[in-house]
Symmetry: C2
Subunit: 156 residues, 2 copies
């Protein structure tokens, strides 16, 4: 291998300089993109949460309307209308929550400590030991999360 | 100015190479940070919306419970208990929505096309022309956003 000539060294220098400048420019560009992205994300997250709320809060307004109508029926002692109104409100709210992913926790069969909470254990002739005898309060899950365990009485 | 010697050129080459490598390493690091940030943001946004929902959906479960109790009272023809239950549910839901930032739109005084919707105009002796005579449906705002205008009858 022969040693590089001065002309070759100068050529290498020019090529390296171009490479260095290119990397530096890329670095500045990526850093600026990153910074802009960070700012946009901060703005987006705020409006994302606000919009998510807005949709749900909006959906609850007609339910509030129906409750007010039911209260008016109660004031006027129109019992049939009051009952009908309450049934309607219940159905609307239950449907809304189901659409949001809320589901009742199953209580048929064996007690499951992951989703049930035993408030009481009672002897039971007909039931298998460790099975759910009675549901005192319904439980709910939202997707995989147990938002409230079902409160139950279990067979001893 | 004297022309650089071969030794000087070689020194410059080594310095440039080090600079180029440093910029390239920085570039790789920033690009990797950016990519990781992007992935984290995507995960965060999902859980952010899910958590925002979870909080609100959770707060609605006791209201659903109260509605179910009211329906049981209706089944057993306990009218007083039913009325009480409906009043309780109404207060709970109204309070919850107020905490979420929902506010009733004012309807006292002059008709305001930004927040009111005129469904009817009626002649009125006692009222000033253009004032709100009667509210047919309450309006609501959430922060600065009119989520539903108040539907009203205006004086001709």
């Amino acid at each position: 291998m022969t040693a590089p000539t001065k002309a070759e060294l100068e050529e290498q220098l020019a090529a390296l300089e171009a490479e260095r400048d290119e990397h530096l420019n890329d670095l500045k560009r990526v850093a600026a993109d990153f910074e802009n992205y960070r700012k946009r994300v901060a703005r987006d997250q705020e409006s994302l949460v606000a919009r998510a709320h807005e949709r749900l809060v909006k959906a609850l307004i007609p339910i509030l309307d129906d409750l007010e109508r039911a209260l008016e029926a109660a004031d006027e002692h129109e019992e049939a209308k009051l009952e009908e109104g309450v049934a309607l409100v219940h159905r609307s709210l239950a449907d809304l929550l189901a659409r949001e992913g809320l589901a009742e926790i199953e209580t048929e069969g064996a007690f499951d400590p992951h989703v049930h909470e035993a408030l009481l254990a009672q002897p039971a002739e007909d039931a298998e030991s460790g099975s759910v005898l009675q549901v005192l309060q319904k439980g709910y899950r939202l997707g995989d999360v147990v938002v409230r365990p079902a409160r139950v009485i279990v067979a001893e």
